[in-house]
């Protein structure tokens, strides 16, 4: 299927890029903090919020910013598993500002959480912050979100004008029902005389039978190519 998406199953390892990007003071702080968290997990509660100030917040690669990557490194240093890990991460998210919450969401695929962090993804998808919604729809959501919720999340992105190439897993998770929802959405827009976002068309084209006899919709699908 010719659907272009962020197809990473796991995000890039944040560690090597970070080590190159941080100056000596920041690197020393992060290494010390990782050791502290490994020895005493509760230390993460005061170290995690301080990361932006200590390490900076520029872009590191296409997936991570510096602060998100450094926070992910702290989370992966937690010597906790299962429910205990989920509780610590959930409380960091609950008490976090938007930058901290983005970092938690982006780090989820690196943590051994099973579906214990789905509540954080769901809470984010109920909100209105497009940067958080985008962070929530990474490899973790692609692997764990049930079909109906994944479809609703994609549709929400369309409404919030979040480009669909930033939603992980669309290539494998787009199904006939999602194509039907997007076709209906496109039809609604056409009837209202409004633009149809280009990036939904490949999903609809992959399931041509959802278009049915709607001539305007067939036309819109053909036009681009």
């Amino acid at each position: 299927m010719a659907v272009t998406t962020a197809s990473l199953s796991t995000p890039p390892d944040p560690q090597p890029g970070l080590i190159a990007a941080l100056d000596d003071t920041a690197r020393t702080w992060l290494e010390g903090s990782v050791a502290e968290v490994a020895a005493e997990p509760a230390a993460v509660r005061r170290l995690f919020p301080a990361v932006r100030r200590r390490c900076g917040h520029g872009r590191l690669d296409s997936y991570w910013t510096v602060d998100e990557a450094a926070r992910a490194v702290l989370l992966t240093a937690l010597p906790l598993r299962g429910q205990a890990l989920a509780d610590e991460v959930t409380r960091l998210h609950r008490h976090g500002d938007p930058a901290e919450q983005r970092a938690v969401l982006r780090a989820l695929p690196l943590l051994d959480l099973g579906d214990l962090a789905l509540a954080l993804v769901r809470e984010t998808l109920r909100g209105n912050d497009t940067t958080l919604i985008e962070a929530a729809l990474g490899p973790y959501a692609a692997a764990h979100l049930p079909d109906a919720e994944y479809r609703q999340a994609v549709l929400k992105c369309v409404f919030y004008e979040i480009p669909l190439d930033r939603v992980t897993g669309l290539g494998t998770r787009a199904d006939r029902e999602l194509a039907r929802m997007l076709a209906d959405f496109a039809h609604e827009r056409i009837v209202a005389g409004r633009d149809v976002p280009e990036d939904i068309l490949p999903v609809v084209r992959a399931f041509p039978d959802v278009v049915g006899g709607r001539a305007e919709l067939q036309h819109a699908l053909k036009e681009e190519g």
Partner: protein, 284 residues
């Protein structure tokens, strides 16, 4: 004239106030965590409040060209309610955040053993987080309460230059300045301290280690009292430099000890949102 209000509860104020403050010269504020006029009954209410002081309120202030910082603490009044005490265990998380420039308001309300415990513990948190402390002095029995506060500050081991005692008056200013702590004054429409009395105190004690604030909140108060005090200083013969020292350089020096003051003026942006929500009406 540039003004830094080192103690104002903007959560209780309107967008008209922000506009008037900017027009009067206010470019930065510190909002201390305090009580809301009615008791909170669970720790979660505090966390939502802290999140607001760190999220929605700086966003609002920025839309009017004002930098907003905050101080975080369990306030003295609610330190007496056992339902609220678990907040003390979560303060570490909030004191580590970027826009938190002090621990506060801490101090005494009724001088109970519970308040003793909360004050001592939170002064230790200030030391651990390398933050200044904003200490409220009690409205009732103020002179005795201020003496006792200074004793606890001394016993805590925190450096006196990291501490401001607030809501002072003619009877308490001397002992605070003698201790090496900073002296804070809240200029109110009727109570506490007026701008003319403030000018007399500045004449007598000088302009060093003094912070002047409006402490404006949900009660009868005036967010422009900082500017009015500056005007009263000029009318009484103080020069522009003395006004700038008291209303800008002093608060910058005091809260600057946190290492977390970033004072470039925010550019209001009509399109900006906080978590997708905005102060526009008819929009999101």
């Amino acid at each position: 004239m540039r003004i830094f209000d080192p103690h104002i509860h903007m959560t209780s104020r309107t967008t008209d106030d922000y506009e008037a403050m900017y027009a009067a010269g206010v470019r930065a504020v510190v909002e201390p965590a305090f009580w809301l006029g009615q008791p909170r009954t669970s720790p979660e209410s505090f966390y939502d409040y802290f999140d607001g002081l760190l999220g929605w309120e700086p966003y609002r202030a920025a839309q009017f060209g004002i930098q907003h910082f905050c101080t975080i603490a369990l306030n003295p009044k609610e330190a007496n309610d056992p339902r609220c005490l678990p907040v003390l265990d979560e303060l570490d998380r909030y004191l580590a955040k970027d826009r938190v420039v002090a621990v506060g308001e801490i101090g005494y309300d009724s001088m109970t053993p519970e308040e003793d415990e909360a004050l001592a513990r939170q002064l230790q948190l200030a030391i651990e987080h390398e933050l200044p402390a904003l200490v409220h002095t009690p409205h009732r029995d103020k002179a005795a309460g201020t003496r006792r506060t200074l004793d606890v500050v001394r016993e805590s081991g925190i450096a006196p230059e990291l501490v401001v005692l607030d809501h002072l008056n003619e009877l308490t200013v001397g002992m605070v300045l003698d201790s090496g702590c900073w002296a804070g004054f809240s200029i109110y429409p009727k109570t506490k301290m007026s701008e003319d009395r403030m000018v007399e105190i500045l004449k007598e004690h000088g302009t060093g280690r003094v912070l002047v604030n409006s402490a404006a909140d949900w009660g009868r108060s005036d967010p422009l009292k900082t500017r009015k005090t500056a005007d009263a200083m000029l009318a009484a013969g103080f020069d522009d430099d003395a006004v700038d020292e008291v209303l800008w350089r002093n608060p910058v020096a005091f809260y600057g000890q946190s290492g977390r003051l970033e004072l470039e003026e925010p550019k209001p942006d009509e399109e900006a949102t906080f978590r997708g929500n905005s102060i526009r009406r008819g929009g999101a």
